[in-house]
């Protein structure tokens, strides 16, 4: 029972980070209709930037902030240079451009920072675990979860109460109507990419704090895909719930199935689950069902 509770708690906490990255993904999809396969590499960039600054002696929060700023700039640049020219192109074209981007980012990251695992040194969070009743939780997990939740709320507030956030919501809801009342769609696309880049950067930094940072953190970024499919592609609450569910699923499989299928069950389970889930409910929990006509 304790094992079960531990798996669930750790799952929820890692899931919080996935939820953060998934939020960025859904944002891009909702605002500009781009199905982004470069999310994993975006987490890598943010994580490596904040790691570099941190190892130079910059305080952790400040280096996180710097990585947010750089993520913001990179997001806008990416949108302007690559995605802006593709508005109205077929879906496959846009997806493949994001695949190309993922290669480009990954190659660049590997070239600059190498492929060895790096850790945040000195450790940002002390390794002493915290006891919540019978459950023992690593401090890193707890703080990551808190940070992810705080950021989720900041993003939510941004969408609900600021002018830019409302403009983005309007575009996501109905692009034509938003255009006609004077919202600049190009601005919204750029903002969506910038925010997604920032969210991915924070997610990557937190994930890098847990196990150290190497290229495989980018693979963890890919896990947002099962998460968003689970929640429905165009649903923000769905992304958050999906992210947390995927985190739980991953940890449960790691705890219980690893004995029977040694090896990478933990990494594969979300994708296997997603493939089966798609067969029964392709639009996810809260996604819009599209009715197709000829």
């Amino acid at each position: 029972m304790e094992l079960f509770l531990m798996a669930i708690t750790t799952g929820v906490m890692v899931g919080g980070i996935y939820a953060l990255v998934a939020l960025g993904w859904v944002l891009i999809y909702k605002c500009s209709g781009v199905l982004n396969l470069a999310m994993g590499e975006m987490t890598l960039i943010g994580a490596y930037v904040s790691l570099s600054f941190y190892s130079m002696g910059v305080p952790f929060l400040l280096s996180l902030l710097i990585s947010l700023v750089i993520g913001f700039v990179l997001g806008i640049l990416t949108e302007r240079i690559f995605l802006d020219k593709l508005i109205g192109e077929p879906v496959l074209t846009v997806i493949m451009v994001t695949v190309g981007l993922s290669f480009f980012f990954k190659g660049t990251v590997e070239f600059i920072w190498g492929t060895d695992t790096r850790v945040f040194a000195p450790a940002v969070f002390s390794i002493e675990p915290i006891k919540l009743g019978p459950i023992v939780v690593g401090r890193v997990y707890l703080w990551s979860f808190v940070a992810a939740i705080v950021l989720l709320f900041i993003f939510m507030g941004f969408f609900k109460y600021t002018r830019w956030g409302l403009a983005m919501q309007a575009t996501a809801d109905d692009e034509m109507a938003a255009l006609s009342i004077g919202v600049s769609a190009r601005f919204v696309y750029a903002a969506a990419w910038a925010i997604a880049f920032m969210a991915a950067g924070v997610g990557g930094t937190l994930l890098g704090n847990i196990n150290g940072l190497n290229i495989s953190v980018g693979y963890l970024g890919l896990l947002v895909l099962p998460a968003v499919v689970l929640g429905g592609l165009n649903s923000v609450p769905g992304a958050i719930v999906g992210g947390i569910l995927i985190g739980i699923l991953q940890n449960l499989c790691g705890t219980y199935l690893d004995r029977y299928f040694p090896g990478g069950v933990k990494e594969i389970a979300p994708f296997a689950f997603m493939a089966i889930f798609l067969l029964f409910k392709p639009y996810g929990l809260w996604g819009w069902e599209r009715i197709e006509r000829v």
Partner: protein, 366 residues
């Protein structure tokens, strides 16, 4: 891409002329020249390095052909094709290493050819298994299931279980002399090259002929609009699964062929990167044309080799460049895909088609 126009003044008088592969004397001469170069010039003139480049091109063509069939002709986007190539490669390797072949077959050198066929069929069925979701989902969701195919097959089943068979550790190596076709042992780049040519030509002929049959027309109809196709009485699921089978079959051929060139077979050769690479190849070559698969493969392999040659002289002053060449390659490949998608979304095959039409219609281009 539509068909090429015939040169001015060429008329067909019966259907067999209309259906002929090579319709004019000029095309026949051109193809004869091509075959002369492929079989007569390259094998005897090229050195071992360029032969290995050619082999790599051939392997890429075989892989890209399956992807082209799925994406370009049937509209089923796949990002997991390396999984089926891996299934082919591992089936063939395991059959050669572990299967108790009857002495007669070994003596006649039939073990490898038979294993290629079995590997291709198994890869085909494996592909159908992961194509099953296409009955229900399409577009982005299908992309996700094919991605799942990649991770489940290569990163889980093959890395964790298949690689453990026989206790050889991560990589399988084939003892020299086991890859034998009839009396010939495939042990040099030249022999691999000839095997590659035969396989590539057979598969291209097979695919092109499939495409001009009922099956191929059904695929194109599904690609263009699957709902209309269903309304017209095409069994959409059946033909989608056919497409997955044929693509997996060719992928299996590619994998089983490639083990003749690899010293050691390990899951690293079949990572997700390779699936994406194949899709990138057909996008650069041109989606929806067989030429596209070939042009894309030649372009990507040759450009990467040239890039390496260009970087070599710089290696003395910047050793990091050579060390990290793999990463530069990745970044350049990514940029190339982006650039092609933005500036030339129709790919190289489209330019080729335009060029041919220009000369065919010259001097009256209307």
């Amino acid at each position: 891409m539509s068909t090429t126009f015939l040169p001015c003044g060429t008329y067909h008088q019966n259907y067999s002329q209309d259906h002929a592969w090579w319709q004019t004397r000029f095309i026949k001469a051109k193809m004869a020249l091509l075959f002369l170069i492929l079989f007569g010039l390259i094998p005897w003139q090229a050195d071992s390095y360029w032969l290995s480049v050619c082999n790599q091109i051939g392997y890429t063509v075989l892989g890209a052909l399956g992807v082209q069939l799925l994406i370009g002709f049937c509209g089923q986007v796949t990002l997991g094709h390396a999984a089926f190539i891996a299934v082919g490669a591992y089936t063939s390797t395991l059959l050669i290493l572990e299967f108790p072949w009857p002495a007669v077959l070994l003596e006649w050198g039939l073990a490898y050819p038979v294993s290629i066929l079995i590997a291709a069929v198994i890869a085909g069925f494996w592909s159908v298994l992961f194509g099953l979701p296409s009955a229900k989902v399409k577009g982005f969701y299908l992309i996700l299931t094919t991605m799942a195919a990649q991770f489940i097959t290569v990163d889980f089943i093959i890395s964790q279980y298949i690689s453990q068979i026989g206790g050889r550790g991560q990589a399988f190596s084939l003892p020299p002399g086991t890859i034998k076709i009839g009396p010939w042992v495939v042990d040099s780049d030249l022999k691999v090259y000839l095997l590659m040519l035969v396989l590539v030509i057979i598969s291209i002929i097979g695919v092109v002929n499939l495409l001009r049959s009922r099956v191929g027309r059904a695929w194109v109809a599904i690609r263009d609009n699957d709902i209309s196709a269903e309304v017209m009485g095409i069994n959409v699921v059946k033909y989608k699964l056919y497409a997955f089978f044929v693509a997996g079959f060719i992928g299996g051929l590619a994998g089983a062929f490639w083990i003749s060139n690899l010293a050691a077979i390990s899951p690293e050769h079949f990572q997700w990167f390779w699936s994406l690479w194949l899709v990138g190849v057909i996008l650069i070559g041109g989606v929806g044309s067989i030429h596209g698969a070939i042009f894309g493969s030649v372009f990507m392999v040759v450009v990467m080799e040239l890039l390496q040659l260009a970087i070599m002289p710089l290696a003395d002053s910047f050793p990091k460049l050579l060390m990290d060449f793999l990463f530069i390659k990745e970044a350049v490949f990514g940029l190339a895909i982006c650039a092609f998608m933005i500036f030339e979304p129709n790919g190289l095959a489209y330019r080729w088609w335009q060029m041919k039409n220009y000369f065919n219609l010259w001097p009256f281009s209307y």
